[in-house]
């Protein structure tokens, strides 16, 4: 859902080199046409301004220039080569989203979400872990709030008065995502890397790696929350704290990511 008031932004690791968009993180180059170069040189300005400049330069009708620029920005964003910074107030975007969702309802689909790519500072292990955690903290908080809210509702429906368990489970679910991505990021020290948030997926992009380093990066993500879960469960068994044991469950679930069921496990095994 793009709007002419939105702005195109090239994230860290993406640059324009002549007639090519270069992704230094993934080590890829993408050829673009002269019209696209015109739009990319104006990165930072609104898509509406870029459309006006494109129309004036190539003699296009305003509506066609607008459609072309929005489609191009959409394609770049979809390929994780550019971020689209919202130009409208949050409530306007929410209303637009609801309107589009209602139109898509007969097709049983939801509006496609704009992807966001954040460069990671991998100069040291600590910086890499912190920048990885910060990249997903907003998403993790949202997940934690939703999970805690849904579970609290179920708890109440079940007639239980306890409120600590849903909060603990929600917090652990959100923290699991932070620890998972921070683990991947920490293993990527001194490797160009970025985190991409697309729809429901969270991906770590990095330079192509081989052998043991690739396995280490893949396993570090699931290993961090899973190890914490094992420690938490052991402490809970020692103290008899059922809430802590419950909180360990969402963290322990990340261990599944190290199996063939998930991309991390397949990468770790070279598949």
């Amino acid at each position: 859902m793009l709007d002419p008031a939105d702005r195109l932004d090239l994230p860290d690791g993406i640059r324009l080199d002549g007639a090519e968009v270069v992704d230094d993180v993934r080590g890829e180059r993408f050829a673009v046409n002269p019209a696209a170069v015109t739009v990319l040189r104006g990165a930072g300005e609104t898509l509406g301004t870029a459309a006006g400049r494109l129309g004036a330069h190539w003699g296009l009708p305003p509506e066609q220039a607008r459609t072309d620029v929005l489609s191009f920005a959409w394609s770049l964003n979809d390929a994780l080569l550019a971020n689209v910074l919202p130009g409208r107030a949050r409530h306007e975007r929410i209303l637009s989203w609801i309107a589009l969702a209602l139109r898509l309802l007969p097709a049983g689909q939801l509006p496609h979400r704009v992807a966001r790519r954040v460069g990671l500072d991998t100069t040291t292990v600590a910086r890499a872990a912190v920048s990885g955690a910060l990249a997903v903290v907003a998403r993790s908080t949202a997940i934690a709030v939703v999970v805690a809210g849904v579970l609290a509702h179920l708890w109440l429906l079940a007639g239980a008065a306890a409120t600590l368990e849903p909060i603990a489970l929600g917090t652990a679910t959100g923290a699991g995502l932070i620890l998972h991505e921070a683990g991947h990021a920490a293993a990527l020290v001194r490797v160009r890397a970025a985190i991409a948030l697309t729809g429901r997926r969270t991906m770590v992009l990095h330079e192509p790696l081989l052998g043991a380093r690739a396995s280490l990066v893949a396993l570090a993500g699931p290993a961090v929350p899973a190890c914490l879960a094992a420690c938490l469960a052991t402490a809970a068994l020692g103290t008899g704290d059922a809430t802590a044991a419950l909180a360990a469950c969402p963290l322990g679930g990340h261990a599944v990511a190290a199996t063939m069921l998930c991309g991390d496990g397949r990468t770790a095994c070279g598949l």
Partner: protein, 91 residues
């Protein structure tokens, strides 16, 4: 030796998940004052025994069995993925 890594990873991951969930199930049952035994035949995974005011939660050898099952399942999945990948290369 390609199977070693999926075997170890599958076993460790399955055992970790089983351990955490068994601990949670055991402690929740203990908190609720309910006796609980989860066993794979004669091999106990988790047992909660109530003895008056005291409660004993035990994680048993079933954890090893679950880990082995997970390890073998992961190796089978890896073999299937390898076969599919090799077929793709030939095609």
């Amino acid at each position: 030796m390609w199977a070693l890594r999926p075997f170890v990873l599958g076993g460790a991951a399955t055992a970790a998940v089983a351990y955490v969930f068994a601990a949670a199930a055991g402690l929740v049952a203990a908190a609720a004052g309910v006796e609980l035994t989860v066993a794979l035949g004669p091999v106990v995974l988790v047992a909660v025994e109530l003895d008056g005011p005291t409660t004993a939660t035990t994680i048993g050898a079933g954890l090893v069995v679950v880990g082995l099952v997970g390890a073998v399942a992961n190796v089978i999945a890896a073999a299937m993925l390898r076969r599919r990948r090799d077929r793709g290369r030939i095609a």
